[in-house]
Symmetry: C2
Subunit: 188 residues, 2 copies
């Protein structure tokens, strides 16, 4: 027997905000968000202080799954293989015709305000990715793990952005690019 | 004797569109654009069919100067030096507190529509930069000039984006990153 659990207004607003801002940008209007969620504006403002708070909460809610979806399973244990796994996931994501780049980078670029609550969420997500790269780089004996981690984050964002705007195809391109940087850093 | 040449409505609209969309995003309203330009909405629509056309024209108008500002002077003749010159310009641009990344990449990310007239302008600008990288890579004997040109464009966009959102400092970071890729491609 299945229980018919309707997502509540808060969940529906968070889902609508995540989906619509990804597809249309952070400029999407409150009306459109409420309409897509099937929630009145009055209810929305009872749940969230502002559209900015709603956006931040929607990015925050998906952040753990986003990062988990990029990171390698424990079975993969060579740092090089673990780092490349992340980029292989980006290639897979980018193959989806609905792909518009990393949602966290896009949000930060669109908001143009590092102090916006959604920008803070986005920054934390990317910092955790950089932290993963740094730990693996150190584990793999990179000459400068911090430098390599920053380079990999730059490539992650650059690749996501360029594939997201349809300017680049990552298959057969991203792995050799990352490999060149891993080799330059003498990663095992 | 100086002549008091007031820029005309078209020029003022183009300037306002370039400045405001860079600072606030492509979602900036027509009213705000017209107000900043000191031009009536009626006049705006006599000059441009739509806000999209105005945006495209404003990006187009600055494109030659944008690319020229990145490219090396003729005196620099070693391909490696000429390629690095571009990235040194990005470092200089990013040192400006008003820097919000490459305006062409931002416009494409924000518009989320590769067929938008402004996206087409933006793509052409970036393709001309990739073309420069490709020619210099070939000239410098890179093993795969096309691959290297794509890698350099990816780094250009990734660095611009990350510096533009305040997530990265390019000084002391960008040149070693580009150099690693140039070395991997055996560029002289």
């Amino acid at each position: 027997m299945t229980t018919d659990l309707k997502p509540n207004s808060r969940d529906r607003l968070l889902e609508a905000a995540a989906a619509l801002t990804y597809r249309e940008g952070v400029g999407i209007g409150i009306e459109a968000l409420c309409k897509a969620a099937g929630v009145s504006k009055r209810s929305m403002y009872q749940l969230f202080a502002s559209k900015g708070e709603l956006l931040a909460a929607s990015l925050e809610r998906r952040s753990a799954a986003y990062v988990a979806g990029l990171l390698p399973p424990d079975e993969k244990d060579a740092p090089r293989e673990r780092i490349l796994h992340v980029f292989e996931q980006v290639i897979l994501q980018a193959a989806d015709p609905e792909f518009r780049g990393c949602p966290y980078l896009s949000a930060e670029i669109e908001l143009k305000d590092p102090d916006h609550p959604a920008s803070r969420v986005a920054r934390a997500v990317k910092e955790s990715l950089t932290g993963f790269f740094r730990a693996e780089s150190a584990q793999g004996g990179a000459t400068d793990p911090d430098l390599l981690a920053r380079q990999l984050t730059l490539v992650f964002d650059g690749a996501s952005a360029r594939a997201g705007i349809g300017a680049e195809h990552l298959d057969g391109f991203l792995v050799p690019t990352v490999t060149a940087l891993l080799d330059a850093a003498d990663l095992r």
